[in-house]
Subunit: 160 residues, 2 copies
């Protein structure tokens, strides 16, 4: 299978210069602000984005080095299959966060609810649309016993 | 900014061999099944995934050629900024679908609610967890007037 080559469309700036003691999901970064500096050549693609309260960020987990197919997640004490977790070390280290969009000024986005390391290369922005999410009964495997409050409270350590 | 190089972890097989007349979101592909053939070297990473009813697929939109920063989405008649749309032609053509996971047999996943072209290279699988989604009031800009039923019913054409 062939190599797939991407190039950053911008850089994410956040208060998190250390990988430890970070929120592990956007729900844990509530109120924490950051900015995204979009390469000016893509600025016209930001038109109409300001109407959305939340945006999906896809980014390259640039601090991630190597991976293991079995990991013990921050939220668990048992080892789990990597693809059943949101661990940041993956064969293709793509991070996904839904953050709050506060403002757009030219090529600079101000965002909140941030769980992303400072200096992270941004790959794509998509609008977050609840009507595109699955409905009905959702089962979450080993996470069924983990509640929203635990996800918000938990902070990262140096395990990855 | 440097090139970021990924390599597929598997291939997605679906009934969609033509880019036209496809569902434009998973909600429009309800009941349509596909399979994912994971490279056997990653098979152990699938452990524990079977407990999840829905999974997030990140994949390379391999049929996408070039992009425009202003596009008229399938759901609209007005041109919009690319990053305010889910159009498949993007600077980094990464697709995102939350699909239903029906079965895992060794390295083969059977999925449903599919809106993906046959032969698409898979980049990552993440578990879908509602408690990691944003809560409260969500605004969706130009899509505010579009309802779930329109998103489900709409089919692609040859515009991208």
């Amino acid at each position: 299978m062939n190599a797939i080559i991407y190039s950053p469309i911008g850089i994410i700036h956040t208060p998190f210069t250390d990988q430890e003691n970070m929120p592990i999901q956007p729900t844990g970064g509530e109120g924490i602000e950051g900015t995204i500096e979009i390469n000016p050549k893509y600025q016209s693609g930001l038109q109409d984005l300001g109407g959305f309260s939340h945006i999906i960020l896809l980014y390259h987990l640039h601090l991630s080095r190597g991976y293991s197919l079995t990991v013990t997640p921050f939220l668990d004490t048992e080892p789990r299959g990597l693809f059943a977790t949101r661990a940041p070390t993956r064969p293709n280290s793509i991070g996904l966060s839904v953050v709050r969009l506060l403002d757009i000024e030219k090529n600079i986005l101000t965002i909140s609810d941030v769980d992303i390391s400072d200096g992270t290369p941004l790959l794509d922005i998509k609008p977050y649309v609840p009507a595109m999410q699955p409905t009905g009964n959702v089962k979450t495997g080993w996470l069924d016993s983990i509640n929203t409050e635990q996800i918000s409270r938990k902070r990262s350590d140096d395990r990855f």
